[in-house]
Amino acid sequence: MPDPSQYTDRPWMDSDAEPFIKVQSVSKQFGSFTAVDNVDLDIYKGELFSLLGGSGCGKTTLLRMLAGFETPSSGNIFIDGVNMNDVPPYERPVNMMFQSYALFPHMTVENNVAYGLKREGFGKIEIKQRVDDMLAMVELTQFSKRKPHQLSGGQKQRVALARALVKSPKVLLLDEPLAALDKRLREQTQFELMNIQEQLGVTFVVVTHDQEEAMTLSTRIAVMDTGRFMQIGTPTEIYEFPESRLVANFIGNANMFQGRIIENGPDHVVVQSKQPECEIYIDHGLEIQEGHKVWVALRPEKIKISKQAPDEARANQVKGVVHDIAYLGKISIYRVKIDDDTLIEVTSPNLSRPKDGNLAIDWEDEVYLSWEASSSVVLSK
């Protein structure tokens, strides 16, 4: 008998767990344009769930439907078991942090944070207490009397977060929470967000176009495109086992080889690729017929680059010439020309320092690329 506690970190694995937010075949049309196209989604309590996609993919529309600013054209949204279709935004147990922060410019920081509590009719003393606690948590106590235009971008972001959290919502919706911050501040704030989420146990739903942000923050990610989910899974699942070329390309970089399955055994598959001319051996079986056309995705960091020829096996290796090198300090990105039309991208950690000003692998060097049988992913979509 499975132990129920084994799923506490991964409630989506537990078939008995009741989802906290349930999106049931929801569509949203604006005129003839379909922003969200018949999607289903379960989000569990305490998750930090990311909706990831490019602009116009429908992620913001979906978030706005959760907040109540848009009503679904069809389908139902349940939050904590209650159908939200006829519940106006001001009665929903959710709060939202806006991309623009939407701080009230005519109120002080303190009053911005207190606004939600005042509408709920709490007493003066309790409001003061909760606002002070919240401002202390986001380290803005000494700025409580300032107006929003007297704050820096990072401070505004924290006020917006405090204002959205002070009512202890069941769900916090975050629309591109870090997009307006510079890189350094963004990285720092990512971890703050995660800490706060863990501390308060609130369910977070984050909309973002930044795959790195989604990878760092989330328990699970839904990759969206043209109003549909392309894949839903943990960051690892999405990165290591993408289900389609679109997902593989959207999350990180991937080298794509088109080929045909020439051998399909119970424990291995061999794909014959035309460009580059090579055989790809994969160490697990597939439910695809022999002779089928497929795509093989190979992450740049999973390829070994070397000047020495690997001794045995013919499969999983190609030979090429270094076409370009981008030196990034901790790693280098190599673009290796295999033939006239094929460039393969490889990233490799810079394990040793250059000797006498010579790089270990230099421009125009002849190199061998090789990879493990478990490194590549076969995609049929």
């Binding site: 935004p89 709060n95 410019p105 606004y115 509408r119 007297q150 820096s152």
Partner: protein, 279 residues
Amino acid sequence: MNNGKKSRFLFTVTCFGLAFLYIPMLMLIVYSFNYSKLVPVWGGFSTRWYGVLFESEEVWRAVTLSLKIATVNACFATILGTLAGLALVRFGQFKGRTLFSGMITAPLVMPEVITGLSLLLLFITLKEFIGWPDKRGFTTITIAHITFSMAYVAVIIQSRLAGMAQDLEEAAQDLGAKPFRVLTDITLPLIAPGMLAGWLLSFTLSLDDLIIASFVSGPGAVTLPMLIYSRVRLGLRPDINALATIIILVVAIGVLLAAWIMLRQQKQRQLELQMSGED
């Protein structure tokens, strides 16, 4: 070299421009202190006509009536115009929106003679059928002024709202404010500067209006522009010069005050910006 020539040219043009604008007013002010009863003949410095002006009950009545009309008009026009602006920008695509938006701006381009004439016709017809307004005067002029003033307010509010992102109102809703609360807590405070501008504009438009007021006014109800016009029709009069001088003075003080307040706000904002930059 070339630059010097250019700046002299600019200087001359500026002088001519300013002279063209301000010499007539300057003449008016100078002649208001003329002792002579004949306007173009200088009879020595005197404040005699100011005395005459302040003793004239007719002038005081006209001033009071004009101010009363302007104030009531400004208040109503601001309320109605704000509502119209809100409806146009924040209520989405309701049925008849295009028609409404066209109708609301029509008074801006309608010749005043037409507006005045049609309103007069309306009041006469109304009196015929429901017996109201039984007397044309304060009420009819105020109503007439509201009809065109609110169009200006609506346009001002509309542009202010259109420039204001809707997410502030959504944020308030999200935090539990019902629609009316959102209006009073967020929308109105944010469009207050626009409402103030609209109020002032309506006030000025009403004080300034001669044509429409002449159409819809009745016996005994004379506004200030009507009084000035009717007196000057019989020849230039020194006491009217005195009255005009006072009006110029009041307007000048108002403009200077507004400029001073704006300058101070700007400085304050700059200071605050610097402060936030330091953190």
